[in-house]
């Protein structure tokens, strides 16, 4: 039984592994693919979003500069092109200062500072040569794009609110009446912020998706385990039912056997003994009457009955338990079964049973019963012309009983009550950790049982 349980456990673990391994593989693959897709997606999104954001910043700064220029043009139209108007325009632009970093700056086309709300010292000085850390001639470039009809310049600039050099996009136009270049710039940090917000949201989505994958995976693995567990339970129940049926069958056959023995004891042995008693009483009466010859005949008759009764008792006890199993070993016991079968049925039996070293009693008994049952089946159903019994030892016991009878259809036989004989043969072998098989066709029926060495160990 130990062996059987271990085998079942191993089988269950294998099933579990087989079921779980592809699942784990699938989950890991899906997680990898999703991760890869996310990275790709975020890259694509960022690259596609970047120009849009940049365009938005550009539009913003361009609108701001155009607004300033238009305000100056309107002022000139209203107040005329005078130095006073020029001064008013300067002050107007200086006052149009929104937030920390949004303001106008004005230079003339020679690069002299005209107005800068943050750096008053810059006014009336020439900045044509002003370069940023990357070597961009800022003012020169701004004047160039302004004279070309308005345009953008990217450069690094000292940011008043943080005190750092930061990336800025500048836009400039010309106020033709005065030869002014009016411009403004926007720091690009807002864009970087948007980008990092976007990147963060992608990372969050990625994390959420990974979490969902983990949850689904966990649920799936749990389901596999539950499935295997349930399967296991069902199989356990089936096995229990089989064991119960077998136990019932064993009990039933025990009862049948007892009934048979009781009947044989009553109808055979007891009646024979009663007959012996009657005959001896007759002899007694004849002796009383001096009829010695008749008395002697009665006694002879009684002795004959007694001998028959002794044979009957011997046969009965042999049927109950073949002591030859203990006294002569399994090989001899099987030879005896073959010989008895042959003398009873007149069907020749070829028996080749190797003597096998001392066996566990239950093993010897199981194999003996299988041969007995097989012979009984052949006698009842097969109409065989010859029977062969073979038992040999090589890495275990191989037992084979074959006949050349009419054969039977295994499936049909197993469904009928008579098939139980086959079931109990199989159960006997499987309980001992062995294998049982039977093949049948007209003219050839072969029953094979194999018990591996491990199941043969002596108690």
């Amino acid at each position: 039984m130990q062996n059987v349980n271990t085998l079942q456990l191993k089988g269950r673990l294998t099933v579990l592994m087989l079921a779980a391994m592809p699942l784990v593989f699938a989950i890991v693959s899906v997680a990898w693919i999703v991760q890869h897709q996310f990275d790709e997606l975020s890259r694509v999104q960022l690259t596609s979003v970047e120009p849009i954001l940049m365009q938005a910043r550009k539009d913003e700064v361009k609108d701001f500069v155009m607004t300033g220029r238009k305000a100056v043009t309107d002022l000139i139209k209203r107040n005329g092109n005078t130095p006073k108007t020029q001064h008013e325009a300067k002050e107007m632009l200086r006052s149009m200062d929104f937030g920390a970093d949004n303001y106008y700056f004005v230079y003339d086309t020679q690069g002299n500072g005209v107005m800068h709300p943050r750096l008053a010292a810059m006014e009336n000085r020439n900045y044509l040569g002003l370069t940023d850390p990357n070597g961009v001639k800022i003012i020169q470039r701004l004047i160039d794009v302004a004279q070309a009809g308005g345009g953008f310049v990217e450069f690094m600039w000292h940011r008043p609110s943080t005190g750092n050099n930061e990336k800025k996009i500048g836009y400039a136009e010309i106020i033709p009446e005065w030869g002014w270049m009016i411009g403004s710039g926007l720091y690009l940090d807002a864009q970087q912020e948007t980008e990092s917000r976007l990147r963060e949201s992608i990372v969050n989505a990625n994390r959420a998706t990974r979490k969902q994958i983990m949850q689904v995976s966990f649920a799936a693995i749990l389901m596999v385990f539950l499935g295997v567990f349930t399967l296991n339970q069902v199989e356990q129940r089936k096995a229990n039912t089989r064991v119960r049926l077998l136990a019932q069958e064993v009990q039933r056959s025990q009862e049948l056997e007892r009934t048979r023995v009781a009947r044989e004891l009553h109808d055979g042995v007891s009646q024979s003994l009663a007959s012996v008693k009657f005959t001896m009483e007759s002899a007694d009466i004849y002796l009383d009457r001096g009829k010695t010859q008749t008395a002697a005949n009665s006694l002879k008759s009684a002795i004959a009955h007694l001998i028959a009764t002794m044979v009957e008792v011997r046969r009965l006890s042999h049927d109950l338990y073949p002591t030859i199993l203990d006294d002569g070993g399994l090989g001899v016991a099987i030879e005896q079964l073959g010989r008895e079968f042959s003398s009873r049925t007149k069907v020749p039996v070829h028996t080749e049973a190797q003597p096998i070293p001392v066996l566990k009693r239950e093993v010897a008994w199981a194999l003996y019963r299988i041969v007995q049952q097989a012979l009984a089946n052949i006698e009842k159903h097969a109409h065989a012309g010859s029977v062969a019994i073979e038992m040999r030892f090589s890495g275990g016991i191989h037992l084979q009983v074959s006949d050349d009878g009419v054969g039977f259809k295994l499936a049909e036989t197993m469904q009928r009550r008579g098939g139980i004989g086959l079931t109990s043969m199989r159960e006997r072998i499987e309980m001992l950790g062995g294998e049982f098989e039977i093949h049948s066709q007209p003219g050839k029926t072969v029953l094979k049982a194999y018990l591996p060495s491990e199941s043969l160990k002596i108690d």
Binding site: H266, D267, S270, Q271, S272, A274, S275, V276, K277, F278, T279, E281, S282, I285, Y286, K291, T294, N297, S298, K300, S301, A304, H305
Partner: protein, 146 residues
């Protein structure tokens, strides 16, 4: 088995017996035993219920000895059938069964005596004697049991 012919001459007043027992071996030897008594005349024997009924009609025995099982019927069934056809017949059960249930079922079916095969032959004679005088007879010990 040695054939033992009857050494006893039967008188015309001998009691006529019919022997009904499913077990041939014990029937033969009990017949040989009964044949040793001059006052008894075994007029027929059988193991079968139907044949027993036919013989009952033909031989008109005074006494029918029956076992508790015969071919085709149980002892009590045989007793009932006999007494229905010929109520004057005396039915004696001769059997190995000493269980009270068997004894009771036989007596309820109308049997007049219940004798065990394992007892001395004299009991059979005693039973026959008693039932012919209109009494009921049970092997010693069986009476208390029922």
């Amino acid at each position: 088995m040695t054939n033992i012919e009857s050494e006893v001459t039967k008188s015309t007043e001998a009691i006529r017996l019919l022997l009904v027992d499913i077990h041939a071996v014990s029937r033969t030897s009990s017949r040989q035993l009964l044949d040793t008594f001059p006052e008894l005349n075994v007029v027929g024997e059988t193991s079968d219920f139907k044949e027993a009924m036919a013989l009952l009609d033909d031989l008109k025995p005074d006494i029918v000895l029956i076992s508790m099982r015969v071919q085709g019927a149980t002892g009590p069934e045989v007793a009932r059938a006999i007494l229905k056809v010929r109520p004057s017949t005396k039915v004696v059960v001769l059997t190995l069964f000493d269980d009270p249930e068997y004894v009771r079922s036989a007596m309820e079916a109308g049997a007049h005596a219940y004798v065990l095969k394992q007892e001395p032959a004299a009991r059979i004679l005693e039973a026959i004697d008693r039932v012919l005088r209109g009494e009921i007879y049970l092997s010693p010990g069986l009476g208390q049991q029922i």
